[in-house]
């Protein structure tokens, strides 16, 4: 019997998409938190980082309520794409994204707040817009930290289990990611299938985390 590679392939696809979304959102969020003063800023930050510590079941429950077929958002999605979001692989992307965003936001905010503040100031003083300062100064100077955070977020997205199970379900060949597949295989007593997935996930995430640590947030000298 050949190994079933679908769960791994799906995990990879989900993780890539989740990383892209979380990098875009996380960098924006981090920039806002590092550069803008507004009331309730730290509350926003707390909400964004909450998925790191909230039990997956709680998070999954909220997502089911917010994105479920009877919710306004769920309705909107259904009318746009013709099918409900929950229990599809796209829902797994949402689940993974939610876990990847805090990792990115945390690291990127720390990097933006410490790296290159004076360079940003110099750039503004010579008339550069915020947008230009971000792309030409802030991001290049904190690229190592951002790259490391993106890798960590990718590794996290690759292995999401709880929330994915809650809102994407466990439909083999449809929504069954690697992490969920291992659980399923163990339940069935198929230790061989479980071992393949466990090994693949372990090696992949080890490599990614190692690379991320090597990149490390090495700050640019001021």
């Amino acid at each position: 019997m050949t190994a079933n590679w679908f769960p791994l392939w799906l995990s990879l696809r989900v993780a890539v998409l989740a990383t892209l979304v979380s990098v875009a959102f996380g960098l924006w969020m981090a920039w806002v938190l590092a550069n803008r003063e507004f009331r309730g800023k730290e509350l926003v930050y707390a909400l964004v980082t909450l998925p790191l510590v909230l039990p997956p079941t709680v998070l999954g429950y909220y997502l089911l309520v917010v994105l479920g077929t009877s919710s306004p958002l769920g309705h909107l999605y259904e009318s746009l794409f013709g099918a409900p979001l929950v229990f599809t692989w796209q829902a797994a992307v949402v689940a993974s994204t939610l876990h990847a965003i805090p990792l990115l936001t945390k690291s990127a905010r720390a990097a933006f707040e410490t790296t290159g503040r004076n360079y940003e100031k110099a750039a503004r003083a010579i008339g550069a817009s915020d947008w230009r300062v971000f792309w030409r100064v802030t991001l290049p100077l904190s690229r190592r930290a951002v790259a490391a955070a993106s890798l960590t977020a990718f590794a996290r997205a690759l292995g999401d289990f709880g929330v994915t199970l809650m809102i994407a379900g466990n439909l083999p060949g449809k929504t069954q990611t690697a992490a969920v597949g291992i659980y399923d295989a163990i339940q069935r007593g198929d230790t061989r299938a479980a071992r393949v997935l466990v090994l693949a996930l372990s090696v992949a995430t080890l490599a990614i985390v190692y690379a991320a640590n090597r990149l490390g947030p090495r700050p640019v000298a001021e």
Partner: protein, 357 residues
Amino acid sequence: MIEARINKRIAPSLDSAGFSLDIEFQARSGVTALFGTAGSGKTLTFDAIAGFVRPDAGRIMLDDRILFDADSRVHLKPQQRNCGYVLQCDGLFPNMTLRENLIFAADRLPRLERHRRVNETVERFQLTGLAGRRPQEISRGERMRCLLARALMSAPRVLLLDEPSHGLDAPSRTELHRLLRAVQGDFPIPILLATHDLEECFQLADEMLVLRDGRIAQSGSPREILEQPASVEVARLLGVSNLFQAEITALDPGRNTSRLRFQEHELTGTYFPGHLLGDRVWLCVRAGDLRVTGRNGARVEANQVPAKLLCVSEMPQSVRLEFSGDISVELARNEFERQKDNKDWLVEFPPAALRVL
């Protein structure tokens, strides 16, 4: 011309004792030095002018533009202020070459114009051979040159230089001063120079503001200020080492003389307008204005004070002698060589050198 009235309070926090800035000044084209120690409010003033700090009250005008006005709630963004600001901590982008740094500053110009300006600037600031290098690969003095060039790319209406000679060696410092004088000739804009170096004020500044604890303690030309410090604090900042409490015992405007008593000595000085008989004043004499002779048993003449030599310290061009009674004298080296075998010393206070505060 720049006119600024800036009030800013910074509340005490864990890592600072709090600070309050309250200054008002004008600067015309030419160099105006903001002279003060670290923590006197120089950088905060610059940050307020350049738009990085919002003052609590006041008004900042650059030519006929309002940059900040507390009453009408105008607070332009740094990008809109047209200030050339050279930060204390360098600030050349390490991820770009020097040429790219200049191009970054000329971004708003049309392409051809930008190209022309960059080339022109590279030449004027003698960066031709360096333009392709990164800031990490060139010397501190060359970086300073490039920073000035970059700050002037966008044709600013005021130039703010925060401790530009900080960390430069003597030759680079001389070169920077030469460059700044050239810039001053080419760009008829106000140049504000934050510094804690009195020599730099004398070499470059037309006007000088002495900053102390967020207030302007005195303003005027460097020469005026050194000649007549407004207070004993200013005199200390200027490095005047002979400051004694004294009493005015006689004043004669007709003969332009006065008498002062300090410690147990009587000194004759010129007439001090604006003071009364019996006033307790600070007697202020620069170390270089005092003269010394050997006593060798001679009588103590008028304006001479016998003193014991406590300590001699060598300086590059001169020798500094510390005497009993907290008197410091600075003396040319050959003068000291001639006199160094004196046993007892007389310190002479020339009448014209005496200032009272």
